[in-house]
């Protein structure tokens, strides 16, 4: 009977709090919606800024651009757009397998005592400022990889990637990509670690119960479940690689040569590095042209993300997670 007497008690005390809870609900809902709208507004404002400031160069007469700017827009920006994507692709090609390996090791192989500190260490890497990575790449890495690049060129020079005249300084797009790979590694690792940890325990145990080895279990249960999250992690890493400025500016010997050779002095520069290098001395139409290049970078990032989202949504039904 004590329960029946207790019920009115609990029933009366929440009554006054019903109203505040609704207010709180409304306020919180409003705040969340506001934040969601704000990110759209910020994006729209960035796009508008780039359009307005870059517009004069985008719609300028090519002859005027040649005399007061850096030259005809499309042919000027094309090598940099290529360099941006090429450096990011090289970086991801190196970083993604390693990052997934680290994340799997932490979640499924490492003893628990080791897993947590290792996770912290990886996260720590994300906190290193890019200018430090730039210094490291320019002063140390580029000097120490020269021998390796010479060997690659001598022995694997028949592959177009490694052909051409090897740079005497090691400041090539491959070095820049290695620096970028180290920078995106912690992002991809931490996100994929979180995703791997979300794999339903039952899926894993079911796979093991059916006689799967640990690797087979990962292949059958963990990776299919994690695929959308992995793609999201890689996209975040790609975003950082595409937009990274300082490290590339310091490490890469960037020019206007569209080439797939990764060991030569004559590499395509990235858009972000081009802007950083030329903005301090730019004025008038040159400023507009650099901002228009920023618009191109914005468009590239947007396109890459859209394609990635599309891939994720297309594969969702086969992911095995459901």
């Amino acid at each position: 009977m004590s329960t029946t007497s207790a019920l009115p008690d609990t029933g009366t005390s929440p009554l006054p709090t019903v109203d505040p809870r609704r207010v709180g609900d409304r306020v919180f809902g409003g705040l969340a919606a506001g934040s969601g709208i704000m990110i759209l507004v910020i994006l729209a404002m960035v796009a508008a800024f780039l359009l307005v400031q870059g517009g004069p160069a985008l719609f300028a007469d090519p002859a005027k651009l040649a005399s007061q700017g850096y030259g005809e827009f499309a042919s000027w920006v094309a090598p940099y757009a290529f360099g941006t994507v090429w450096a990011a692709v090289l970086a991801l090609a190196m970083a993604v397998p390693v990052a997934i390996g680290i994340a799997l090791f932490i979640t499924h192989y490492a003893p628990r005592r080791m897993a947590a500190p290792l996770g912290y260490l990886i996260d720590l890497l994300a906190a290193v400022p890019s200018v430090v990575f730039g210094l490291w790449g320019a002063d140390l890495l580029s000097r120490s990889v020269r021998g390796l690049y010479g060997w690659l060129n001598d022995n694997l020079g028949f592959i177009p990637l490694f052909s051409g005249q090897v740079s005497g300084t090691g400041r090539t797009i491959l070095t820049a990509a290695v620096v970028l790979a180290v920078m995106v590694l912690p992002i991809i690792t931490s996100l994929s670690r979180e995703v791997f940890l979300q794999t339903p325990r039952l899926h894993e145990e079911a796979a093991l119960a059916l006689g799967a080895t640990r690797w087979e279990m990962i292949k059958m249960a963990v990776l299919p479940f994690a695929r959308p999250g992995l793609v999201a992690a890689i996209m975040l890493g790609l975003g950082r690689a595409l937009g990274e400025t300082m490290a590339v500016t310091m490490v890469l010997s960037g020019g206007k040569n569209i080439t797939f050779q990764v060991l030569t002095s004559d590499n395509p520069n990235t858009i972000a590095a081009t802007i950083a290098q030329n903005f301090p001395e730019a004025f008038g139409l040159k400023t507009n042209q650099l901002i228009a290049a920023g618009l191109v970078l914005f468009a590239i990032t947007l396109a890459v993300n859209t394609v990635a989202r599309w891939i994720v949504s297309r594969r969702a039904e086969y992911s095995g997670a459901n």
Binding site: D139, G168, M250, S253, G255, A273, Q277, N278, P280, F283
Partner: protein, 353 residues
């Protein structure tokens, strides 16, 4: 009543004093600010000059924004800066009375050389401590026509050096720079058959090679590489070899005296006003180190504002003086103007109204 009267009298006296104070302040140049903008090559020297000038003239503030020569020239033309720092004088078509917002309608601009800095050809080649190159060879290397250190053209100039069979990596500036402009102008003047491109701030797209950001980037890339060669402000050339330039059979090091001599050997662009010291650098003349950057202060002949005029006169007068030039040489490693040229600049500064 008495108290009220006294208070009123005190107020009147106080306000009269205050207004008098204001008037006195406005009359003197002591609270004025001088704004300059332009070449980043002058940055270290300008910082030194500003510090020394402000110490000597308390109450004067000088701001120099090292935003680049082009930005400086457009700010001066628009009247946003009282003087511009520029790695080249204004061209004939940019000159003309009434084209400058800060100057009176009948006033032209004056180009005054204030900062001379030799550009060193720097290299890193193990086992080679001294290197002599002539302009045609330097041009050949930077155009990519000479690709190996043991090329006959280099070997001929350095009979004693043991030149390895190593590829040359030529490093140039990735960003637009007055250093690039003067370096390419040197090659264009002294080796026109090999270097067929006009002088420009931007490295010519026709010539490949390694690019590095800023002076420190070039020096870092050269000193960190092997078989590398580049060009940089002589004061920044550390931990690298410095090549001698052989002109007409004589070898020159990038030293102050040989660099400053170029202005004495060159002629002012014809058709300019008497006090306009815009030089057409003659890098082929005898006894000079040819790769030199000359940076100018661009000022009005007659300012709209007389207070600005007197500030510019005293500031630019100071930086072109023996004392100012020596200060820049210590702080920035520049080459002081010759006494003869200092006198010419002083005469020009004195003519500013």
């Amino acid at each position: 009543m008495k108290i009220k009267l006294i208070t009123a009298a005190a107020l009147v006296t106080a306000s009269a004093l205050a207004f008098a104070g204001c008037a006195a302040n406005e009359g003197g140049a002591a609270t004025k600010t001088l704004t300059g903008k332009g070449a980043s090559s002058q940055k270290a020297a300008q910082e030194k000059w500003v510090a020394a000038f402000q110490t000597a003239n308390s109450g004067v503030t000088v701001n120099y924004a090292p935003d680049g020569s082009g930005a400086g020239r457009s700010a001066f033309i628009a009247g946003a800066a009282a003087f511009a720092g520029s790695d080249r004088p204004l061209k004939d078509e940019e000159m003309g009375a009434g084209k400058f917002a800060g100057c009176t309608a009948d006033s032209n601009a004056l180009n005054l050389p204030v900062y001379v800095s030799p550009i060193a050809v720097i290299y890193k080649l193990d086992g080679v401590d001294s290197l002599s190159l002539d302009p045609a060879t330097v041009a050949g290397i930077f155009t990519g026509k000479i690709t190996k250190w043991n090329d006959p053209a280099i070997a001929k100039l350095n009979p004693k050096a043991k030149l390895p069979d190593l590829a040359i990596t030529a490093v140039h500036r990735a960003d637009d720079s007055g250093t690039t402009n003067n370096f390419t102008d040197t090659l264009n003047q002294l080796a026109p058959t090999v270097w067929d491109q006009p002088a420009s701030d931007t490295w010519p797209a026709a010539f490949a090679g390694e690019a590095a950001n800023g002076t420190s980037g070039v020096v870092g890339a050269v000193s960190g590489g092997t078989g590398t060669i580049g060009y940089a402000d002589a004061s920044a050339a550390k931990n690298v070899g410095i090549a001698e330039l052989v002109v007409n059979g004589k070898a020159y090091k990038p030293e102050a005296a040989a660099a400053a001599a170029i202005l004495d050997a060159s002629k002012v662009i014809p058709g300019r006003a008497a006090n306009d010291l815009a030089y057409k650098l003659d890098r082929t003349s005898e006894g000079v180190y040819p790769a030199v950057l000359v940076s100018y202060a661009i000022v009005c002949q007659t300012y709209k504002d007389s207070a600005t005029a007197s500030l510019v006169k005293s500031y630019v007068g100071y930086i072109a003086s023996a004392e100012g030039q020596q200060a820049a040489a210590t702080a920035a490693g520049s080459a002081p103007l010759s006494a003869d040229l200092q006198a010419k600049v002083k005469a020009a500064v004195d003519s500013i109204k």
